[in-house]
């Protein structure tokens, strides 16, 4: 009997060991991220997480779609591609064919699908690569124009300009009356990029300009420049700067300063897209009006425009027809009328696809240009921003003439990036995708690192500030910087609250994180550090079941220091208005992370911060 019992134990043990061995070994390489069969969609801005992502979920409630935050350019996706983990759908704000070259072999060609025929030819003409493939598509054009203080114009008897000559006259009249004609934020790279293209918009929309742009977007090595064209462009840029009375002092005007000057009535014109204008209109008593950009070589005027986002699909989607259909449904949703309204926050859309009308009823002043289809999509290659900044500021400071400014732009555009040295060597890999407990290890590691650096006991942040997995090996500081949403960054806040308040904070966040934004699926669960959330998942949503610290229920009487972001801070403020909350000076989530990693230290290990019970 004893012998039989021993045998049985031995067999069971053997089986158990074998099972343990088999489960632990045999996998040749453990993947950092598990995508399973669900669709992964990267949105470059967290505003999109709040407006279009919920709408897509509503349209396709049975589809398993994960939205993750990205950055405004393709560098993050290149990082993923190097580790064979390119997501299914990627989006960026700043796009150019040359920037996305390294991703070319991995992206799907939209030209084989009917969706591309929905687009106006002019909208996709710069999206064709050298192999005649259309791998990126623009979505939802947002007009960027001059915003003028009409009340100030009327006060000084200045005519609202309808062509370039009248614009020059208007600027002179304001200048003579001691009013700054245009407080453009020329301290910002995007404004310098805009000013060159807007000043010489007649050249960029000419056939020579179109030809140059086609070549620039498909350049595999250097971007070639048409000297005759670009000399004219810089001549017109220089002229525009002079006519607008821009000078050395404008180099230091950042976006806040520029807006403040305009809002205070110290300048007659600023610039921006419809949302900016609406915000300004709320703040100002004055009547505001839009002015398009005028050609200096004809009487034409144009709406300078940028797509809200540019989208591409992973080529692997074509191996799974069902997944591809879901992806195409997501795209159709984004370019639908409702989708574009949401993406633009309802404030003015220039539709780039023919089945959806342009919606500019709430954005008056551009009717003629819209009717004439006088729309220009900006050139937004990554290097063009720095190149424009250097060139324009060189002209403003007087250190460069037109030719020198052109040479500077050209050399910066074709500058080879110096090889960056690694600042950290990651010893472990952490994935941004959900683990088997519905937590994100990479996000947890980042948040915990920041929390510990700032000596807080707890931390709570939404999921949409964390973008990337951490891959084992050397990593440069620019790549470290990509791991948080630097395009949608948040300030950090420090508060001291008791356990009860912490519980209420987490509870409220799960129920109603933000106006119009709810945690509707496991992908949207927040990231916590220093504590563990036990969450109930029901049909109606998620609710907090319990909260533990160091494996014990949180002490509701005890005071805890907690690190918060904009969103979680505002939830706390709502439920506890009297709570003292301190904003960390000159610190954002991204800057705190990059600062921590600049010392070469390893990031904190991810925590087991969440458990979801069905």
């Amino acid at each position: 009997m004893k012998k039989a019992k021993r045998c049985l134990i031995a067999v069971v043990s053997g089986v158990l060991v074998a099972t343990a061995v088999l489960s632990g070994c045999g996998q040749s390489k453990k993947e950092v991220s598990k995508n399973d069969d669900h669709l992964t969609v990267y949105l470059w801005e967290n505003r999109l997480m709040k407006n279009i992502a919920p709408y897509i979920h509503e349209q396709f409630p049975d589809q398993d779609i994960e939205f993750i935050i990205g950055n405004n350019d393709t560098d993050l996706y290149s990082y993923f591609k190097e580790h064979d983990e390119l997501p299914d759908i990627i989006t960026v704000r700043r796009f150019s064919g040359t920037d996305a070259q390294d991703l070319q072999p991995y992206l799907m060609d939209f030209a084989s699908y009917d969706v591309v025929s929905k687009y106006y030819s002019y909208a996709v003409q710069y999206y064709k690569n050298a192999d005649d493939e259309i791998q990126w598509l623009p979505i939802c054009g947002i007009p960027q124009t001059i915003i003028a203080n009409k009340t100030l114009f009327d006060q000084y008897g200045v005519k609202i300009p309808e062509n370039y000559e009248e614009y020059v006259q208007a600027c002179q009249q304001f200048y003579d009356n001691g009013i700054k004609p245009y407080s453009m934020d020329l301290g910002e790279d995007w404004s310098n990029n805009e000013i060159i293209q807007a000043a010489a918009i007649g050249e960029f929309t000419s056939l020579d300009g179109i030809e140059w742009r086609n070549g620039a977007e498909t350049a595999s090595d250097e971007v070639k420049f048409d000297d005759a064209l670009w000399k004219r462009i810089f001549s017109e840029t220089s002229q525009f700067l002079k006519d607008s009375h821009f000078g050395k002092e404008d180099i230091n005007i950042d976006v806040d300063t520029g807006i403040q000057m305009f809002a205070a009535g110290k300048s007659a014109m600023f610039h921006g897209h419809p949302t900016v204008m609406q915000q300004l209109q709320k703040q100002m008593d004055a009547e505001l009006i839009r002015i398009p950009y005028f050609s200096q070589t004809s009487d034409e005027s144009y709406v300078y425009m940028t797509p809200s986002l540019n989208i591409a699909f992973n080529k692997n989607l074509e191996k799974d027809r069902e997944k591809l259909d879901t992806a195409l449904d997501v795209l159709d949703c984004m370019i639908s009328e409702e989708g574009q309204k949401l993406i633009a926050d309802g404030s003015g859309v220039i539709s780039l696809n023919t089945d959806v009308p342009t919606m500019m009823q709430d954005v008056p002043g551009l009717e003629e240009e819209i009717n004439n289809n006088a729309v220009y999509i900006r050139y937004s290659a990554q290097k063009s921003f720095d190149a424009s900044l250097e060139a324009v500021q060189g002209l403003l400071s007087g250190e460069m003439d037109e030719i020198q400014a052109y040479d500077t732009l050209r050399s910066v555009m074709n500058r080879k990036d110096p090889e960056e040295k690694a600042t950290v060597n990651f010893k472990n890999e952490y994935s941004i995708s959900l683990n088997d407990r519905n937590g994100r290890d990479a996000a947890s590691s980042i948040l915990t690192t920041i929390r510990e650096e700032n000596e807080a006991q707890l931390a709570l942040a939404p999921y949409y500030y964390f973008t990337s997995s951490m891959y084992k090996g050397e990593c440069t500081s620019s790549r470290v910087g990509m791991m948080t949403a630097k395009s949608s960054d948040t300030a950090l806040y420090y508060a001291k609250i008791n356990g009860k308040q912490v519980y209420e904070l987490v509870e409220n966040y799960l129920a109603d994180a933000d106006e119009n934004f709810y945690v509707t699926n496991k992908y949207e669960l927040p990231i916590a550090s220093g504590m563990k959330m036990i969450v109930n998942q029901a049909e109606s949503g998620f609710s907090l079941k319990d909260l533990t610290v160091n494996d014990k229920k949180i002490d509701k009487e005890k005071e805890y220091s907690i690190l918060l972001t904009d969103t979680t801070m505002s939830v706390l403020k709502k439920i506890n208005p009297k709570c003292e909350i301190e904003q960390l000076k000159d610190t954002t989530l991204s800057s705190a992370w990059t600062k921590a990693m600049s010392k070469g230290q390893q990031p904190s290990a991810p925590e087991d911060y969440i458990e979801v019970e069905q």
Binding site: A111, S121, D132, T205, N372
Partner: protein, 729 residues
């Protein structure tokens, strides 16, 4: 299948080439002045008529794709920039487009051609196009052979569809046929790559594809707008058609065979029914009848032969007369030509003798001038005559004032009248329509000839009258004019009056008479009058005088669209002063004369020997080196027309704008037309007279000179359209 593809390709090519040709005519009609107004009544009527007739929408395109419709609505045509580049590089284009303007959407097939730059409301345009309804091309290309079950596409060199018979908005934009076929697994990746290569190489062919659902894919290049035609039809459809065809052929063959057999059977049967005796009698009877008939025919033939003989005799007589007249003419002509030539030769000897005497040299030069003008007149007469007889005279119609015309005649003959102490009375009666449309040059020739003869054949102190009268007519478009040239001179006999309009007829031989002339003048005059639809008659009594009456209808000029070449008074200052000319002249002597004449006027001149040299010189020059080009026409290596075309095509900044004046010995209006068509601005006849050159340059500088670069008969269009409008309204 291949044959069907070829047929469609030819049909499409033909149709679309027709569209392009129509656009070229529209361009020539509307854009000859390079400034187009959309507001004028004439143009508005034209647009309306064109759009109604052609069932298309006319649009004017800028280089960057901005466009304006004929009704003045601005829009941007949404199409890939490669089409704009094609237009810029001189290619015609064709594409399905969607026009979105005036809150209306309109789909259609755009055909457009590049043009020389023109302006509308101050903005520059570079192409002209028109949008046809989609169905217009569909119905034309419908494949009856396949009961419309075939799908066809036109592809540009990127493989995107520019036209298809399939309906659907998606085909209008960015639709790559091969990629879609690949995506739908209708073709494999390898097949798609292979077809792409074939399309890029502009090959033709047919392939059978699709394993489970086989279909034919045929393709061939379309030359008129650089596209590829692709036709897709299910194999079953082709097979069915083939079977139907085979059945039809079999049925037809069987029927034909049956019919032939029946025919033979019938013949055999009818032959066998007739007996031999009956046949013999029948043959004899027929034989007699044939004999009688033959006799009659021979009689008729004899009569005809007699007649022919008479005609031949008469013809021989006429030929002998004509030959004599020609011999007389040649001897007269020979004398007439030799006389001034001898004078010229003689005078040049005198110049050599008196070279140091400036006054003498000038006198001799004047005499050479007179003789050479006279000689030129004789040559022109002879050439004009042969041209008229060959039916090659080209009439150039323009608006002019009858009153000014008469005044000009008065001016021309004033000095001759004065010298012979004669009186020229001009009478104008009942002129209700001063401005008419006609060939002023030839009319001038007619009345110059009549007045010249009147002066010639009237004694000193005689009287000559020139009457112009507008007669009653029922037409509201044409005015009837009666011209009378009458004198109290020597008159002519009745016999001579009968032959006065015949060529080579002269009252007396030039050898025995001081009055000179070719004897062609009246023949030319009559031919010109009749060619213009008029009549000429003469009444005359020997010793009493003669009266020539010309009746002619001239179109009333409602719109004076062509400004008269202003008879400018001499301005203060010399327009040639300081000008720099680039000249092409292959004859050394002519080149030397031209250089010296221009130098006297204060102008500079660079001479090139032929068209190739002048092209090089121009291309190597900087803008501003030359103000104008004077171009000889007949030159070795490269003639003036070709050189002009090459200059206009070149990339020099002034290629399209530098004025080019043709210099040519040929002065026929068709040569003028050739010059203008080649891109020249104006035309002066050789030998070049500085006054004429000045006048021409003035005209160019004041905006005239060019009118029709490729002027066909633009007035013909106006008449056609007006008539069409009258018919449709």
């Amino acid at each position: 299948m291949g044959a069907v593809i070829d047929q469609i390709q030819q049909t499409y090519d033909l149709q679309v080439s027709g569209y392009y040709s129509q656009l070229q005519l529209v361009e020539e009609f509307l854009l000859h002045e390079r400034e187009l107004s959309l507001e004028t009544d004439t143009n508005k009527s034209f647009f309306e008529a064109w759009e109604k007739e052609s069932e298309s929408t006319l649009i004017f395109l800028q280089e960057n794709g901005q466009a304006i419709s004929a009704c003045g609505t601005k829009m941007r045509i949404d199409m890939p920039s490669k089409f704009l580049l094609d237009l810029k590089n001189g290619y015609n284009i064709g594409k399905l487009v969607c026009l979105d303007y005036d809150q209306k959407k309109k789909d259609g097939y755009l055909v457009a051609i590049p043009c020389q730059e023109y302006t509308i409301n101050g903005e520059t345009y570079t192409a002209i196009g028109t949008v046809y309804d989609h169905s217009k091309l569909d119905s034309m290309l419908k494949l009856k052979g396949y009961d419309g079950k075939a799908y066809f596409f036109m592809l540009d060199d990127d493989g995107n569809i520019t036209y298809t018979n399939l309906s659907g908005d998606k085909y209008f934009r960015n639709y790559s046929l091969l990629k879609h076929l690949k995506g739908e697994q209708a073709i494999t990746e390898e097949e798609a790559d292979l077809f792409k290569k074939k399309f890029d190489n502009r090959e033709s062919g047919v392939a059978l594809l699709g394993k489970q659902n086989p279909y034919y894919l045929g393709y061939c290049p379309i030359e008129s707008n650089n596209t590829i035609l692709v036709c897709i039809v299910a194999k079953g459809v082709v097979d069915n058609v083939l079977m139907d065809y085979q059945k039809t052929v079999l049925c037809t063959t069987t029927l034909m065979a049956g019919f032939i057999l029946l025919l033979f059977a019938g013949l055999f049967y009818s032959i066998s029914r007739l007996s031999l005796a009956d046949q013999k009698a029948e043959y004899e009877k027929r034989n007699n009848e044939l004999h009688l008939q033959t006799m009659k025919e021979m009689e008729i033939v004899n009569q005809k032969l007699k007649k022919a003989k008479n005609v031949t005799t008469e013809a021989l007589q006429t030929a002998e007369n004509a030959n004599k007249a020609k011999t007389d003419f040649l001897s007269n002509m020979s004398h007439d030509i030799r006389t001034p030539m001898n004078a010229i030769i003689g005078i040049t000897s005198l110049i050599r003798h008196d070279a140091g005497n400036k006054a003498k040299v000038i006198e001799y030069a004047d005499k050479i001038d007179i003789s050479s003008q006279h000689l030129l007149g004789i040559i022109n007469d002879v050439l004009d005559m042969s041209k008229i007889e060959a039916g090659k005279t080209v009439f150039k119609y323009s608006d002019f004032s009858i009153l000014d015309f008469v005044q000009e005649l008065d001016t021309i003959f004033h000095s001759q009248i004065y010298e012979k102490k004669q009186t020229l009375t001009i009478i104008k009666e009942s002129i209700r329509h001063e401005w008419v449309n006609g060939d002023q040059v030839h009319l001038m020739q007619i009345f110059s000839n009549l007045l010249s003869n009147a002066i010639k054949y009237t004694q000193e102190g005689g009287k000559i009258q020139f009457l112009v009268e507008e007669c009653e007519t029922k037409s509201s478009v044409y005015a009837k004019y009666r011209f009378l040239v009458s004198d109290n001179g020597m008159g002519m006999s009745a016999d001579f009056k009968e032959t006065i309009f015949d060529p080579f007829t002269r009252a007396e031989s030039s050898v025995t008479n001081k009055i000179q002339g070719t004897g062609l003048g009246m023949a030319i005059t009559r031919n010109l009058v009749e060619a213009m639809g008029g009549t000429i008659d003469v009444e005359s009594e020997p010793g009493q005088g003669s009266c020539f009456e010309v009746l002619i209808d001239l179109k009333i000029a409602e719109n004076r669209t062509v400004a008269l070449a202003a008879q400018e008074d001499e301005r203060d200052g010399n327009i040639l002063q300081g000008m720099r000319f680039l000249c092409a002249e292959d004859n050394e002597l002519n080149a030397e004369i031209l250089t010296e004449l221009l130098k006297i006027e204060g102008a500079e001149c660079t001479i090139c020997e032929n068209g190739e040299e002048i092209l090089k010189a121009f291309e190597q020059s900087a803008p501003g080196d030359y103000d104008m080009i004077l171009m000889d026409i007949q030159m070795p290596v490269l003639n003036g027309y070709e050189a002009t075309k090459a200059i206009r095509r070149s990339s020099h900044k002034l290629a399209k704008t530098i004025p080019i004046i043709a210099m040519t010995a040929n002065a026929f209006s068709e040569d003028i037309q050739h010059s203008l068509a080649a891109g020249m601005n104006a035309h002066v006849s050789k030998p070049v007279e500085m006054k004429v050159l000045e006048k021409t340059i003035r005209s160019i500088k004041s905006g005239g000179g060019v009118p029709n670069r490729r002027a066909l008969n633009s007035d013909k269009w106006k008449v056609t359209i007006h008539k069409r409008i009258e018919k449709d309204s």
